[in-house]
């Protein structure tokens, strides 16, 4: 393998090609954006109605336009507990050693309960969308129709992968994060310094991230191979996907790393610019909404770029060791002239 070939298939190059593909098929990001926007709208509509009811006639409204008043929000959440229920607590509880228990999930109310339901719907739609994305990325002339068709075509298999991956991630969260937290809680308290305790927590967090990354890459690899190798039987496709991930772990991890870095960069830009925080003077309502949605769209372009990058990393140059493509015919060397031909023994068939 030449140095150029290695370079051409480096993780950054794969992601770069993926993003170019994503840009060439913007309707994929648009589809994801629409799905997310609709789901988010369902979630936010009751909040919006409550906000209008409480704020429109309130003298606090003018203050709230320019300066988000934490006290007002605190009161709102306290006085209207059904609005978010224990949802904020669930979110913050996810990173504590105790984590989130199923009984706490059962206590979800109001928007919190709707969020949980929509989250499940989002997971299912995610399976559909990924079928569409991977399928369309393989088509030179894709369209929204291709996206829908490919999504539906692969939906059963992709839903299975997604749910399996979901279950694996939950198991990893439980066993790598929660159980180690519980097991180590007392020992961590006995450490000499907070610095050591933070190092232990950081190690647990890193391990969790690595396991989750492995789950994600394995799943995405199976998805990519599933689409790229329709010639294989389903079980072979699945194992070929796993094998492909195992064969190129660093390259895949690299694609994921660069994609995460780019996404984090987008968020950093957003947080530094902070267009949401300013008053009317900085961003009027319409420009603000447009800015927000452009940000979401950019992030989704990057997301599609990541999936395309993974597909590139796995399928652009098929690996012979995992290929079922028939190897070129090898011509048998002619027998040496001085070697006598074998005589068939008598009675042989």
């Amino acid at each position: 393998m030449t140095a150029a070939a290695v370079s051409s298939r480096s993780s950054l190059a794969c992601l770069g090609r993926g993003i170019r593909l994503s840009l060439s098929k913007p309707y994929l990001a648009v589809s994801l954006w629409l799905i997310q926007l609709l789901l988010a709208s369902v979630l936010i509509l009751p909040v919006s109605n409550t906000l209008h009811e409480l704020l429109d006639d309130s003298p606090a409204a003018s203050r709230m336009v320019a300066n988000p008043d934490y006290g007002w929000w605190e009161t709102l959440l306290r006085v209207h507990p059904d609005l978010l229920g224990n949802f904020p607590k669930l979110l913050t509880g996810m990173l504590t050693p105790e984590g989130v228990t199923s009984s706490e999930l059962g206590e979800a109310r109001g928007i919190g309960a709707v969020t949980l339901a929509l989250a499940m719907l989002a997971v299912v739609l995610h399976a559909f969308a990924l079928g569409g994305i991977f399928g369309t990325l393989r088509e030179p002339q894709g369209s929204l129709v291709t996206f829908g068709r490919e999504g539906m075509r692969r939906f059963p298999a992709f839903l299975t992968f997604t749910l399996a991956s979901f279950a694996a991630a939950i198991a990893a969260y439980r066993w790598v994060w929660l159980e180690t937290g519980r097991a180590l809680r007392d020992r961590v308290l006995l450490l000499d310094s907070e610095r050591q305790a933070m190092a232990v927590t950081a190690a647990r967090l890193l391990l969790l991230i690595l396991v989750l990354a492995a789950i994600k890459l394995a799943t995405d690899s199976v998805r990519a191979i599933w689409v790229a190798r329709p010639d294989l039987p389903p079980v072979s496709r699945f194992f070929a996907g796993i094998a492909a991930a195992l064969a190129r772990p660093l390259r895949l991890l690299g694609v994921l790393f660069w994609a995460c870095l780019a996404t984090a960069g987008l968020y950093v830009i957003w947080l530094v610019a902070d267009p949401s925080a300013g008053g009317e003077a900085r961003f009027a309502l319409v420009p603000l909404i447009l800015t927000q949605q452009v940000f979401v769209f950019l992030r989704l372009l990057l997301k599609v770029g990541y999936y395309a990058g993974i597909s590139e990393a796995l399928t652009r140059t098929p690996s012979p060791e995992y290929s079922y493509v028939a190897a070129p015919a090898v011509s048998a060397p002619p027998p040496p002239d001085d070697e006598p031909a074998l005589e068939r023994p008598a009675g042989a068939v």
Binding site: L55, D57, S58, V79, L189, D192, R195, S276, K303
Partner: protein
């Protein structure tokens, strides 16, 4: 005859001299229960063995036939103690307590005449009758102690310390030795006041002088802190070191030792407030935060001192517990407080500062006023919470740092954000419990915290807003000066308020402290419609005729209505502000007694908005979002927040699908 100048000088000197004596740390009050203790720390067994000589004077008008004393460490003796039953084995933050037990045993007890008192020792449970609880003991004296008479009791004891929990114990080589010696209750005219160790309760004791000698392994040399002033350090037998601390006019003694301490010293000096030596026992990994601790301590000394009076003791020791020992943090003992910080403590979050100022504030309410924390916990925690917020606001500004995330602002170090954090804590439990009650009578720890700390702070802030800050300061000053070292109760503070204001404010305390009602005023309706000309029969030239006088026939201005309601049970007078077009305003005080009041303005300018409690005087108002209403809606804020929420939800939903 003295000259006029000399007379003035002598008068000034006479005024200053007692104060100078006070500030020097000399005896500030006649001792009732004084302790001389010699103890030895055994770091292998985690025990402190000691001998104490109690000198106790009966200051009541009745002879005392018994003694009652606290054996606090027995709260950690087993899971049958009242503390363990009430807490269900959980710490202050709900964390499981370590499976490490503590105890205190009295091995000898003799009266001054040599009588062995130990056979007469019995354990009692005056609060809950729990026969398994060994935190209060009683002995019958061989003969009654007459009023004014002084008794001396000598006690040998062995204290086994638990791993740090509820303010006391060890972690590695760190020791926070508190609630550790047999300690007398308070004899009142009604009998002994000596409560068990409860989940929520703290302490109540008589003042006295403490002289304590501590024998430790030599590796603790120079790394010991305690109540009072260190008067001696000398080598002990073998690889040991001996320290001696002394402090007059305090009601408890705690000490700490950790070979890892960084010892830092500073000095507080401010005109009129006396000099104080500051000793900071800091964990090495928090070395960079030393100055923040000192600045906070000085802010406390100055802030509390300016309002209440100077801190009269010569030293203040601040203890920073180590990692894993934070259950010892955030606690107060006479002249010694424990704080607590983290490795990552951004300068603008003021996390250690808040704890230092709060715990220092206890030197006044717990320390010098020394109210009964078992029976009236709010007189310490609540008053201190109120004053802490004021001192922090003066020293560090009204708000603290926020982080802005997708347009939502999240406060960092929420404990400083007054009054939002008080609101958050209190209003969640506002109607759960009667606020003025015994500390173990609350439904839950949350309710105890919300009522004792936050409700009191909000009620006092409301009172301050009603009478003015200067008058409030005079009330607090009078209360402190009159009652320090005398265990005041709520009526004593009410009397101080009444005296300073010249009015009876008992009703305010009845409706707030002695109630479990909530407070909520709201504006429910605001209308402004063009005025219509009067119709019907009117007198004209002495006769009734249809239609008004010509000058009245033309409608002018707007007819406006504002409906203000009292939704809560607490009745407080409240301001109502009506704001009209053209900048005109109308302000009125409503007594708040009825459930509603309607304000009408006819043929006036157009009413824009009505606000109840516009100056936010009533800090106890549980729902401020309904305190105002406009006649014309403005959807901009809600739309803006909706857009932010959609954006936030989009990001959240996307994050959900990152892994799978």
């Amino acid at each position: 005859m003295l000259s006029a100048k000399a007379r003035i000088f002598l008068l000034a000197a006479a005024a200053v001299l007692p104060r100078a004596a006070e500030l020097s740390g000399a005896q500030l009050t006649a001792p009732i229960a004084s302790y001389e203790i010699s103890c030895r720390l055994d770091t292998d067994k985690k025990t402190v063995e000691g001998t104490e000589l109690i000198t106790w004077t009966n200051r009541t008008s009745h002879p005392a036939t018994t003694l009652q004393y606290h054996l606090y460490l027995n709260a950690f003796r087993n899971s049958r103690s009242t503390f363990h039953r009430e807490s269900e084995g959980r710490g202050r933050a709900g964390e499981p307590l370590p499976e490490s037990w503590g105890s205190i045993e009295v091995t000898r007890m003799t009266y001054s005449d040599g009588t062995d008192l130990l056979p007469a020792l019995t354990y009692i449970a005056p609060d809950d009758g729990n026969r398994d609880d060994r935190t209060v003991a009683e002995v019958t004296l061989p003969r009654p102690v007459a009023p004014g008479e002084t008794a001396r009791i000598s006690i040998d004891f062995r204290s086994r310390l638990p791993r740090v929990q509820r303010r006391t114990g060890w972690k590695g080589d760190f020791y926070m030795v508190a609630q550790w010696f047999p300690k007398l209750g308070v004899l009142q005219e009604t009998g002994w006041n000596c409560h068990q160790f409860h989940m929520n309760s703290e302490f109540f004791s008589d003042f006295g002088d403490y002289d304590v000698s501590i024998d430790l392994p030599a590796r603790y040399r120079g790394k010991v802190g305690a109540t009072g002033k260190q008067v001696e350090e000398r080598a002990g037998n073998g690889e040991r070191v001996l320290y001696r601390f002394r402090q007059e006019s305090v009601h408890d003694f705690a000490w700490t030792a950790d070979p890892g301490y960084l010892v830092r010293r500073d000095f507080f000096r401010e005109a009129g407030l006396g000099d104080v030596e500051l000793i900071l026992l800091l964990q090495p990994e928090h070395a960079s935060q030393a100055e923040r601790h000192f600045r906070a301590a000085k802010a406390g000394l100055s802030g509390f001192g300016r309002v209440l009076g100077g801190y009269p003791y010569g030293t203040l020791t601040i203890v920073d517990p180590p990692w894993g020992g934070t259950a010892a943090g955030g606690m107060e003992y006479p002249t010694l407080i424990t704080a607590g910080t983290h490795l990552v403590a951004p300068a603008n979050v003021h996390d250690p500062e808040g704890v230092v100022v709060h715990e220092f504030g206890h030197q006044y309410f717990y320390g010098m006023l020394a109210s009964n924390e078992f029976e009236e916990p709010y007189l310490d925690e609540g008053f201190n919470q109120y004053m802490t917020a004021r001192v922090l606001k003066t020293a560090y500004g009204p708000n603290h740092a926020f982080v802005s995330f997708f347009g939502f602002r999240f406060p960092l170090g929420i404990d400083l954000f007054y009054p939002v954090d008080e609101n958050r804590r209190f209003f969640a439990v506002a109607t759960s419990d009667l606020h003025a009650q015994k500390s173990w009578g609350f439904r839950s720890r949350t309710s105890y915290g919300g009522s004792t700390y936050s409700h009191t702070a909000l009620a006092l802030a409301t009172l301050e807003n009603m009478i003015g800050t200067n008058v409030m300061d005079r009330c607090l000053r009078l209360y402190f000066e009159r009652w320090r070292f005398r265990h005041p109760t709520l009526p004593d503070f009410i009397a101080a308020v009444n005296e300073v204001t010249g009015r009876d404010w008992t009703w305010f305390f009845d409706r707030t402290f002695r109630s479990s009602n909530d407070t909520d005023y709201a504006v429910e309706e605001v209308r402004s419609t063009p005025a219509k000309p009067p119709r019907g029969l009117f007198e004209k030239d002495g006769r009734l005729s249809e239609g008004p006088q010509p000058e009245l026939a033309k409608a002018r201005g707007w007819d406006s209505v504002a409906l203000v309601t009292r939704r809560g049970g607490v009745v407080l007078p409240v301001d109502v502000l009506l704001r009209f077009e053209g900048g005109k305003t109308y302000r009125s005080v409503w007594d708040g007694a009825a459930r509603w009041k309607r304000f009408r303005v006819e043929s006036g300018p157009r009413l824009l908005e009505a606000i109840v409690d516009p100056d936010e005087k009533i800090a106890l108002d549980s729902d401020r979002t309904n305190n105002g209403r406009r006649s014309r809606g403005d959807p901009r804020a809600a739309t803006r927040w909706t857009s932010r929420s959609v954006f936030w939800a989009q990001n959240f939903l996307d994050a959900l699908t990152v892994v799978w």
